[in-house]
Symmetry: C2
């Protein structure tokens, strides 16, 4: 059964891939051995992350970019993180519906994942899904995140190349700055390029990049990388009719080539894996705490009564984890 499933993924069987991602999403212990096997078959794909505020046109961009990658003879896997209701557990499918033009192409696999409220494991499930698509041999994997917060930033930073999408006319400031993602971009995309203010938004972004001297994105902050600097481009695209998409794909491929040539890719891969390992450890710890039931409730009573402060309670919880 296990062998069959993994072979199915390696053979790029659509049902096997979908089943394996569902296993990853469910997060059950039984899936760990399978996903560890899957991990051994990864490393081929170019993982590209897209982020930007709601309404910035990410989904349309993903659709057009997918067509362009396909036209270049490569296959595309897409993992889209959707907001969802903690009550229904269901993803809001509006954006996905717009992508249906692609679903009849077996060189494209699209998977939506719901965010499922705050007690997460989302990043883990998302990156496991990327592993599955990588093992299945998809050449380019696009991670699309809705929103601009820390969880989304963590996920999109697990990509080899990070695209930050801004739309013209979403307010008087640049969304990437306000949302704190200016620095994580390897490539800036101004979507909805047919709007008259697209050029101004691109100009503002270029100005900000100059101001913050962000030309060294080969290096992730703190990685100590001293390679050739990567000049972060600002590209203007339109979805309907499509324009600027070829240039964008050129920049994405160029970024990968740059990373490979400068040694930046190896550093990124290590950094991405380290972040991923730390997040999984946190997830495990969180489940352990949640499983402590009565002991946790008693501890929380003491916090509520002021007998212990939150930091002291956290230290006690960790001590209990060590002792068990």
């Amino acid at each position: 059964m296990a062998e069959t499933s993994i072979q199915g993924v390696l053979d790029r069987n659509v049902r096997a891939i979908a089943r394996m991602i569902s296993l990853a999403e469910a997060g059950k212990p039984e899936s760990r051995a399978l996903l560890a096997d899957i991990f051994k078959h990864t490393g081929h794909a170019h993982v590209v992350g897209l982020t930007g505020v709601p309404g910035s046109g990410k989904s349309s961009l993903v659709r057009e970019l997918t067509k362009a990658v396909r036209a270049s003879g490569r296959t595309v896997g897409i993992v889209a993180i959707d907001p969802s209701s903690p009550f229904s557990g269901g993803a809001i499918l509006g954006d996905r519906v717009r992508m249906t033009g692609l679903t009849s192409d077996d060189g494209v696999f699209i998977r939506s994942m719901a965010t499922r409220g705050s007690l997460g494991g989302l990043a883990k499930a998302c990156l496991d899904a990327v592993d599955v698509l990588d093992a299945a041999g998809f050449d380019v994997i696009l991670i699309e995140t809705v929103g601009v917060g820390q969880d989304e930033v963590d996920i999109v930073q697990a990509a080899h190349s990070v695209l930050v999408v801004s739309a013209p006319g979403l307010g008087d400031d640049i969304q990437a700055i306000k949302s704190g993602v200016l620095e994580i971009a390897d490539i800036h995309v101004v979507s909805k390029g047919d709007r008259p203010d697209a050029g101004a938004t691109a100009g503002h972004l270029r100005g900000m990049l100059t101001l913050t001297q962000r030309t060294d994105r080969t290096a992730m902050p703190g990685s100590g990388d001293q390679g050739e600097p990567w000049a972060v481009p600002v590209l203007v695209t339109s979805a309907e009719p499509a324009s600027g998409i070829e240039d964008l794909l050129g920049a994405i491929d160029g970024h990968r080539a740059h990373l490979t040539e400068t040694g930046g890719m190896e550093q990124r891969r290590r950094k991405i894996l380290e972040t991923r390992v730390l997040k999984i450890a946190e997830d495990i710890l969180r489940s352990d705490f949640k499983g402590r039931g009565a002991a946790l409730a008693a501890l929380m009573d003491r916090v509520r009564n002021g007998d212990i402060d939150p930091h002291g309670a956290a230290v006690e919880l960790l001590e209990a984890f060590r002792q068990d």
Copy 2:
């Protein structure tokens, strides 16, 4: 020294408050005993969280709301979470500048906190700052978060009353839905009410609330609360000239009264503290891992070489934590 600082905070000395929050932000071990003392003096304030996408007009709303609370004879503490550069470490102060009309009033204390990249402790520092302002006797504490992601959601959910701010005209869908924060709102605010499409945005929100049957926000998801339902209001406000602000303050005060009368407040306080304790434990674990230097690097080598998968590496790290 310790006694002096705490007494200074309790006396609402501005410099003592600022120093104590800086200590919390620095996160040094020395500050733990002080903050544990501060925690004992908390529990008076009504903590109100505001969230919404960039450009939704949160800062202007905070300013007008602050004036209204002051006019009712109460004091206001404000903690604003700003995006920041991991390179400069500095907050982008544009929004803060707009609040300067308030800074000469000693019944108002404003503190900006930078997000400082992904390795966090932000939620902890933010909630420690709320404790300091609570201990200092501020009646209402406003937490303003920029962005709509998980970290921001975690922070804003540490409030007793959660306001989700949407602006008309930020795209064809409702930002609260796309950003996944529809369900966490106790009160929806449509800002920029002078725009012609404000009524339509409010109507859409009311429609969505009906659709998702979100009238039970006394209960937090999973809290098991069976109290009277709270009907989530949708209010339209303007900042210049100010309008709808009195009604909004009425709704905020009404929500607090509702929580107190139904027993929902006690449940929220417990839930908030539990989430907070778990986040602190995760922060501690993360620092422990980061401090493992060579051992961590060796483990990451094994992951990179495919000798162990990320989940297995996380389990090994936790095992090392237990053994030490």
